[in-house]
Amino acid sequence: MTTEERFLSYIEAFNAGDWDRLTEFYAPEVCLIIGNGTELRGRAAIVAFYEQVRTKARRTIRVVDCFCDGELLAAELASEFVALVDAPDFPAHPLRQGDRLYINSLALYDFDDVFFTRIRAATILREYRPATLGEATPI
């Protein structure tokens, strides 16, 4: 399996909410820095964060592209968040149930032979689409 194929499996695990499988891709001391600068260290912290987000919104990630160079993988990701409940404190933008948030991001994954050791992301574009209007607006 190539690193790119392995990465697609990782995203598949994420979209399925399969945290056990997801953490198989992480080094024990993995560091994840998400688009707003929040830094999470270790598998448990990352899973706790994702679990918390998942109580408020369903996130689906589509891999626009990914490629490797040495021990780095770069990816462009298109994420769709659908709010399951009202989430006024949702990171990036307050959401009401049914609202959608689209985030295009660039992410860099450092990896060793087996695991991702560091993941960093930055946002290219955000769009907010309220459930009531259906019109997407950049934010």
Binding site: I33, G35, N36, G37, E39, D65, F67, C68, D69, L72, L73, A74, E76, S105, L106, L108, R120, A122, T123, I124
Partner: protein
């Protein structure tokens, strides 16, 4: 010194990908407009932090305007090149120093002597050895790489 178009084609296919990209940044940091403009497709789409323009001439005109006010230096922190040379993702630190007041600077006013440093991830899409689309994403907080 400008990088001629013939040189660019040769470089893109024969130099290591990272060296080719670093030559672009070297030309950019020297304000060698002809040199770095040679990397752009005529209809390049540029979506930077301070400008969103289409066309190589428009990009150059934007940077000529910037250079009238600012000294700009870009440092390559991380480089990831697609093996088939169709894309690059780079992490870069941009340092701006205002040489004179620029109250209308698109990303926020600067006064003479002000220094501003930001880190971005940028994705460059290529066709025929030139950039066809450039998009950047500002990195929040202090998370620049050390490599």
């Amino acid at each position: 010194m400008s990088a001629g178009w013939g040189t660019l084609i040769l470089s893109c296919h024969q130099k290591p990908f990272r060296d080719w990209f670093e030559a672009y940044l070297t030309a950019f940091n020297r304000a060698d407009f002809a040199g770095f403009a040679a990397y752009y497709a005529d209809d390049v789409i540029f979506r930077g932090q301070a400008a969103q323009v289409v066309g190589s001439q428009q990009v150059v005109e934007f940077y000529r305007r910037v250079r009238a006010y600012l000294d700009e230096h870009v440092e390559l922190l991380t480089f990831v090149g697609a093996p088939d040379r169709r894309k690059i993702v780079a992490e870069m630190r941009t340092t701006l120093v205002a040489m004179r007041d620029w109250p209308d600077m698109p990303s926020g006013p600067m006064r003479t002597g002000d220094r501003r440093s930001t880190v971005v991830f940028a994705i460059y899409e290529l066709a025929d050895g030139r950039f066809t689309r450039i998009r950047t994403a500002r990195v929040a907080g202090a998370q620049a790489a050390s490599r």
